[in-house]
Symmetry: C2
Subunit: 408 residues, 2 copies
């Protein structure tokens, strides 16, 4: 896993999906939601080489099916449209036809190939898409005053409390390549469900197969390492678009700077993933669990995931309780090979368990540390060379309030 | 899976671990906890054939290690001692020696073989056992006025709000065989953790190997199918003792009434497991998830477990929200082979999804049903013959309150 920020990378102060050259983005209120922006788009001036990853949920929503099929056919995307307020999930044949029509209408409007339009939806499930509203959104795609990355980032939110965006620059072949991204996180809207959407853009020239590999790899170290409540939705999707407007030598695994590109892509993905985790429903804190000394990468990841997913750890962090016993307990039930006499745990810089034994530590100091907005839990298994990082959030009264309130 | 109550079984009105012949039980306050009973015992007048199952947590507590080792050596238990208030977990070599001494002292006191004493602990982890208090408990084991199953059931509790006990009678070889049981559930005490302890007793004559098989099987359909928060502890253990005082023909897999015995044992285990689930921290409702039509039993179980473990389902039940989308979502991410167009879901008797499509149903009626203390969610995968049942509880403000409060 890459854990340090690439040396030559520059993080833009206010980066967006439109920071890379040749992309525009926008968003409007089309009427699916009561007041908030609910329809957004990203558009590249030229067709972009693209790759995607999709939810593993057995009930894959219609827009994912449509996008996946088209992308597998043409390996390019020029336009992405996204609506919030309705997930077009569990909507049967009608839902599939609606997603196809969304795609077709956007292609007409933007004068691009139908298969080069990606569609995404997030919101209520089991209700058919209000296509009249979607048409209003698509019609607005030409209107200058809605073109702003901020509008796009707003339009894709559900119960997220903040927009999530970032961009970085790196030098490739003595050209400045920019990678941007926007995401929405785990918000629940009535009657449903947490959806994670991520959109990455770059102006680099990238080989299609290599881009897919890079996306898969970065996802495994970013969006696949976050949890809010362990529930993964029918609509989760991450897309990456490389429109090649910077004219660098084609980036692929053979390019001498390939690793730098992947690092930068991973940095963008991780930043977005962390923003998603921190903005989890009801969350007051971002929790980062780092594992070290694991015999394999899978062990490192599974242990980190067990701890970050533990309701008991999450409530303890909420209560600023340095409850190392719950951390140990979660490590223990991760079903991974653990050497009980080797384990070390620290909360921030404060050692609490060393070589399998409790360390006498200042509880007050540890409790104070846990009042920070970002809390790190470090676990050294002392049983190998591998490490991993997972991100999550605390479990609070507000999580229960948001999710227990009846839908009306 | 056995889902119906055995025909010839009689559930005793106020059944306990002492309902089977030849068992006594008791409990006292020995001083580990402030006021509550904290030391209990079960004693059989003769050595009982015994079997046990133990937590899979990598950090297995000292008392489990001691009990397991002895039981594997002699396959018999005559006396069980249990303390609450301190789990003797993560206590290293000192903890192991303390567990051994507990065992030895109780053996002396009750004049039984050392290896025929089982020891169990539940409570705080990472602190060494106050052996002076344990000695006070062991000394009290002879005192008549503390002998009462109710005292035992009280003494093993932590943050449980109720004692959990049950007993049934069945006819085997024209003799009345009784099976009793007591359990404690998922209570958290400072600084730690949910421990599940179960103790089953019977006066039947049972073969040792067959008893182990029967226990393993019934556990898989009872204690292994409940969840409160997904966290499994270092101290979980279930023991079964068969003291043979009823003098039936030896029960084993060849006995014509073996299935009846196993059914009865399973019934007792399931009743205890349900009581544990219903008394989960902060819980207001028992949730039962039934799966049907699965291609294998593993699929049936995994789907049931995914749904019962979903924080989103648990909060929806708390809020009496018939949020079928969250149920579908959890089925979808269970990583099992699901046919999206086949799935049926009902909440109680109210169909909400049929053949992969939403049914228009009376939301008010469904919401009213969800206000019951016991809530059933039924999922038919229409893809095979297998079924499973899992139990859990709702996720409430009180769960967060109990587990977020700082330990001091």
């Amino acid at each position: 896993m890459i854990t340090t920020q690439p040396k030559k990378m520059n993080v833009l102060e206010n980066g967006h999906v439109t920071s890379p050259k040749g992309f525009i983005a926008g968003g409007v209120h089309c009427g699916i939601r009561r007041k908030k922006l609910d329809f957004g788009w990203i558009h590249s001036e030229v067709p972009a080489v693209a790759a995607g990853v999709y939810t593993l949920n057995a009930f894959q929503a219609a827009p994912l099916q449509v996008t996946k099929k088209s992308l597998e056919k043409v390996h390019k995307i020029q336009t992405i449209i996204v609506n919030s307020g309705n997930a077009n999930s569990f909507t049967g044949e009608q839902g599939y036809q609606d997603a196809l029509e969304m795609q077709r209408l956007a292609a007409e409007k933007m004068t691009v190939e139908v298969d080069q339009v990606a569609v995404a939806s997030t919101g209520i499930i089991g209700e058919t898409l209000p296509m009249d509203k979607i048409r209003i959104g698509i019609a607005a795609m030409g209107e200058e005053n809605h073109v702003a990355a901020e509008n796009f980032e707003q339009a894709i939110l559900t119960t997220d409390t903040k927009t999530k965006h970032v961009a970085v620059e790196i030098e490739i072949d003595e050209k400045t390549i920019t990678i941007g991204g926007a995401a929405k996180g785990s918000g629940m809207i009535h009657p449903n469900m947490a959806t994670m959407l991520g959109f990455l853009t770059t102006d680099a020239v990238v080989d299609a197969v290599s881009l897919q590999n890079a996306l898969r790899q970065t996802i495994d170290y970013s969006f696949n390492m976050i949890t809010v409540d362990g529930d993964s939705s029918t609509n989760d999707m991450v897309l990456v678009l490389a429109n090649g407007t910077q004219g660098n030598e084609m980036l692929n695994e053979q390019h001498p700077q390939w690793a730098e590109f992947v690092e930068a892509l991973q940095f963008v993905s991780q930043e977005l993933a962390k923003k998603v985790a921190k903005d989890g429903e009801g969350a007051t804190k971002l929790i980062e669990v780092n594992t070290f000394g694991a015999p394999t990468e899978i062990v490192a990841k599974q242990v980190a995931k067990a701890v970050i997913s533990s309701n008991l750890v999450k409530t303890a962090v909420y209560g600023s309780d340095p409850n190392w016993g719950r951390i140990i307990c979660a490590v223990g039930y991760s079903e991974q090979p653990i050497l009980p006499n080797k384990i070390c745990v620290s909360i921030g810089d404060i050692d609490v368990v060393k070589d399998g034994a409790v360390v006498s530590f200042m509880e007050k100091e540890a409790s104070e540390y846990l009042q920070n907005e970002v809390v790190k839990i470090n676990i050294d298994l002392q049983n190998g060379e591998f490490g991993a990082t997972a991100w999550g959030c605390d479990l609070t009264y507000n999580y229960v309030r948001i999710n227990a309130s009846y839908r009306t």
